[in-house]
């Protein structure tokens, strides 16, 4: 799938036109993973965010007693690691590929911030969409707490 076509299906880039999506596409790198591959671990220093293009990933939180708790699967069109763009903190969870083939696109934080600074229209829309995505994830967690 062409990168711009893939980006159009990602909520994070909603509102961007084709020329803006092409600029984003220029800083994305395709990365493929097999079942069980660790994409990053909780506590790692974070340098990039990811977009799930195909397959799914499992988000696992490790508690202070060492117990690992799978919290959610993220599939096509979802973003991973975007919190570090906002707070520059360490990874808050471990992420593993789940299934035969998982295709992600990564974007280095430095390149992402550079793009947002040099093109503030893109920066505004992506930051707005990141906030809305976090809101959606919070609602998901809220439903989970209510239903369990």
């Amino acid at each position: 799938m062409e990168v711009v076509t893939m980006l159009k299906q990602v909520d994070l880039f909603r509102g961007l036109d084709n020329s803006q999506l092409e600029l984003v596409g220029q800083i994305t790198v395709q990365e493929d993973f097999n079942d069980g591959d660790v994409i990053f671990e909780q506590g790692d220093h974070a340098g990039k965010m990811y977009i799930v293009s195909e397959g799914q990933v499992e988000i696992i939180v490790e508690h202070s007693d060492g117990q690992q708790n799978p919290v959610v699967f993220l599939g096509t069109g979802q973003i991973i690691g975007e919190m570090t763009l906002v707070d520059e903190g360490k990874r808050s969870a471990t992420v593993k590929a789940s299934g035969e083939m998982t295709r992600l696109y990564s974007i280095l934080n430095t390149k992402f911030v550079e793009l947002c600074r040099s093109n503030t229209d893109i920066g505004y829309m992506i930051m707005r969409n990141i906030a809305q995505d976090m809101s959606f994830k919070l609602r998901h967690r809220g439903f989970e707490a209510k239903d369990s």
Binding site: V10, D11, I59, V72, F73, F136, D147
Partner: protein, 70 residues
């Protein structure tokens, strides 16, 4: 239209999922989350649609292994 769906397992026994779907899920559909198969038992909008995106919450129940292989 792209459907961004928050799937929650009804009894909380397994993690849910968030993913985009090309078609709106309806009650009775089956969906794979991790290695398990689930059936949709409830669907509704949780946020107003924006551009080409529609935001849904779906509650699912696990399909019994015997049923899944029947």
């Amino acid at each position: 239209m792209i459907y961004k769906v928050s799937y929650i397992v009804n009894d909380g026994s397994k993690p849910g999922s968030i993913k985009n779907e090309q078609e709106r899920p309806v009650i009775g559909d089956t969906v794979h989350i991790g290695v398990h198969e689930f059936r949709v038992v409830d669907v509704y909008e949780i946020m107003p649609p924006r551009d080409d995106f529609l935001y849904l919450h779906a509650t699912v129940e696990e399909v019994a292994e015997t049923e899944a292989h029947a």
